[in-house]
């Protein structure tokens, strides 16, 4: 894949690189090179010197939070796994990566396939699983080939299969593709898909930890979470927890996209300032073509959009940091979320109405269709936004959108409905003037963009 590697060489990025340090070592995708550079130490250490519960304990101590978007503590998720006698349990790695703005897992798997496999072995050992799966989105078929090749090497070297390292522990690891459905990133839809069905999310409870794949206890973790288990076991959970601020521990992969001078995947220490991430020489190097920042969606398309005056500073005037807490500071009114780390940046030439419509179309397209509020609501939102964007809207449409929103959120089986509703609500909340301008200046709105929004005087 022709990724502009020079842009992304971790050697030129500041801070610790727990995950992608070795990404540019030639041949790192092979077992031998990966092993020579310290690979599979976490498996050796866990299987030879630790009990499964010790491993879970280290992950708990690390404070690692799910890197797929929800940010739920991984160690706690693991401790919920039911362990009834004589029933198999499964670890499933969620490599469906389909949240618009997110492309970090692809980067990890494409260049460091053995890191994910090592993490899967160590994590499966911790959870007592003998058969684990990596569910990868179908559009990443070439990465499925990379992973299967790496898995075959791991089998040949005795790190997978029967009696791993002579310990008596058995593990099989398989990769399964999806078929192009955003919803399969939701864990119960993913499980349905793994069973060879349509990706319709299940009603919870029962949670997958009790009844998941084929009715058995199952843990579903994001690629980056599983990969982070490797440094956590190697160096200890305490060492990992020392990086970051408060409950945002460790490092995080950020997928930077949009109108940036240097988009790409970056590994940052949680706690880095947003200002430095956007403008720093070691990171995105500011906006492309010297344009002005208009808005930012910091955590993937499902999180609220922030106007330019709330991106690098919170409403209280403090520096905004890349942490779960700081990015959500101010709640819905003036905050957003770290989410999956899909950091999308808009310059002054971008139209918020058009972008909101674009994402609404995405959610309408990706709604699985089983709950009517989401199936119908997302498509109404798309139609109303299309009308506004194309100069055919009226002022009531803006309130109509808010009304549809309220009828979707909280009324669906899975969070896709909320994920579709909240960004629209946030866009109207912060950019109402721009939406109204599309109605009051219909013709003008078809020929030019509104420009930056004004900072409210009270803010």
């Amino acid at each position: 894949m022709p990724i502009d590697q020079a842009n992304l060489n971790p050697k030129y990025m500041k801070g610790r690189k727990l995950l992608i340090e070795q990404v540019n070592i030639p041949g790192i995708e092979t077992f031998d090179v990966y092993r020579k550079n310290g690979g599979y130490r976490s498996v050796d250490k866990a299987i030879k010197t630790m009990s499964p519960d010790d491993v879970v304990e280290e992950v708990k101590k690390s404070g690692l939070r799910g890197r797929g978007g929800a940010g739920f503590p991984t160690g706690m998720k693991w401790s919920f796994l039911a362990k009834p006698e004589g029933v198999p349990r499964y670890l499933v790695c969620n490599a469906d990566e389909s949240e618009p703005g997110t492309f970090k897992d692809r980067y990890l798997m494409e260049y460091l396939p053995h890191l994910l496999i090592e993490g899967m072995i160590t994590s499966s050992y911790a959870l007592g699983c003998n058969l684990s799966f990596i569910y990868i989105r179908g559009e990443f078929m070439w990465i499925l080939d990379i992973l299967e090749k790496a898995i075959a090497e791991a089998y040949a070297q005795g790190y997978l299969g029967k009696n791993i390292l002579g310990s008596g522990y058995d593990l099989d690891l398989r990769v399964m593709p999806g078929g192009g459905a955003y919803i399969c990133g939701e864990e119960t839809a993913l499980i349905e898909s793994l069973e060879g069905k349509r990706g319709n999310p299940r009603i919870k409870p029962p949670f997958p930890a009790v009844k998941g794949l084929w009715g058995c206890p199952t843990v579903v973790n994001n690629v980056e979470s599983i990969a982070a288990v490797v440094p956590i076991v190697n160096d200890g959970g305490d060492a990992y927890a020392q990086i970051g601020i408060g409950r945002s521990t460790g490092t995080k992969l950020i997928s930077a996209s949009g109108n940036l001078a240097r988009p790409g995947v970056y590994e940052i220490d949680l706690g880095l300032s947003v200002e430095e991430f956007i403008y720093g020489d070691d990171y995105c190097r500011g906006m492309a073509n010297g344009k002005k920042l208009k808005a930012c969606i910091p955590g993937g398309s499902s999180v609220p959009i922030l106007p330019h005056y709330l991106v690098t500073k919170t409403a209280a005037g403090e520096d905004r940091l890349m942490t779960y807490e700081s990015l959500s500071d101010g709640g819905f009114a003036t905050g957003s979320m770290l989410g999956s780390g899909g950091f999308i940046v808009f310059d002054e030439d971008q139209c918020i109405v058009r972008n909101t419509w674009n994402f609404a179309r995405f959610y309408s397209h990706e709604s699985c269709g089983q709950c009517s509020p989401c199936r119908e609501g997302t498509s109404w939102m798309e139609k109303v936004l299309y009308r506004l964007e194309n100069g055919q809207g009226n002022l009531r449409d803006i309130d109509l959108l808010a009304e549809i929103n309220k009828k979707i959120e909280g009324n669906t089986i899975c969070p896709l409905g909320d994920a579709a509703a909240w960004p629209v609500a946030a866009a109207i909340h912060h950019f109402r003037e721009e939406f109204e301008w599309h109605v009051t200046n219909k013709e003008e709105s078809q020929t030019r963009n509104f420009g930056l929004s004004k900072e409210p005087v009270s803010a």
Binding site: E97, G138, E139, F140, W142, G196, Q350, H365, C368
Partner: protein, 177 residues
């Protein structure tokens, strides 16, 4: 999401997967616990689509036979996932990402450029059967847009010139293995 299968679309030509693919199907069935072989369905549908270009009713029935499941179990899956083509497509299917981050860096222009260049609209196939143009939702290349995917191969950082070169390259068979 496509809701209906067109029952009139038939695909009478070859129907058997190649021996290599059949061996792969058998291997896939051993990857899951006894009796859970339906799990291999999506992978097998991909294999079938790679060989046959698209999934006709006959192909889906054949996949059902292979996996010893009911045809309806295949139809409901094939119609749910957007990667599966339920209508005939051209030799090369361009799937251009149209979602937010790609749009910010110009995917709309790329889509209309391809439409003009190939003289087709999104969803259509060129007269010579060489190209089909589709749009796709986020393909996970947000930092490398605009982009398109053609048979699992990504083409990223697209410009109009690059698209022209790409079309020529596909026409001249450069990407055929």
């Amino acid at each position: 999401m496509k809701l209906h299968v067109d029952w009139n679309k038939r695909h009478a030509e070859k129907r058997e997967l190649s021996p290599e693919s059949l061996a792969k199907v058998n291997e896939l069935m051993t990857h899951v616990p006894e009796g859970k072989h339906k799990s291999a369905l999506i992978r097998v549908l991909h294999l079938a689509q790679i060989e046959f270009g698209w999934l006709s009713i006959e192909t889906m029935d054949y996949v059902a036979e292979l996996l010893k499941i009911q045809p309806i179990e295949v139809y409901e899956v094939a119609t749910f996932y957007t990667m599966f083509h339920l209508d005939p497509v051209g030799k090369h299917v361009f799937e251009v990402c149209r979602t937010g981050p790609c749009m910010l860096v110009g995917s709309d222009d790329i889509i209309s450029h391809i439409e003009n260049k190939l003289n087709i609209k999104v969803g259509e196939t060129t007269q010579d059967g060489m190209f089909t143009l589709k749009t796709a939702e986020c393909l996970g290349a947000c930092g490398y847009g605009p982009m398109l995917q053609c048979r699992f191969k990504n083409h990223e950082f697209l410009t109009k010139d690059k698209v022209d070169e790409l079309i020529d390259a596909y026409r001249s068979g450069q990407f055929e293995s």
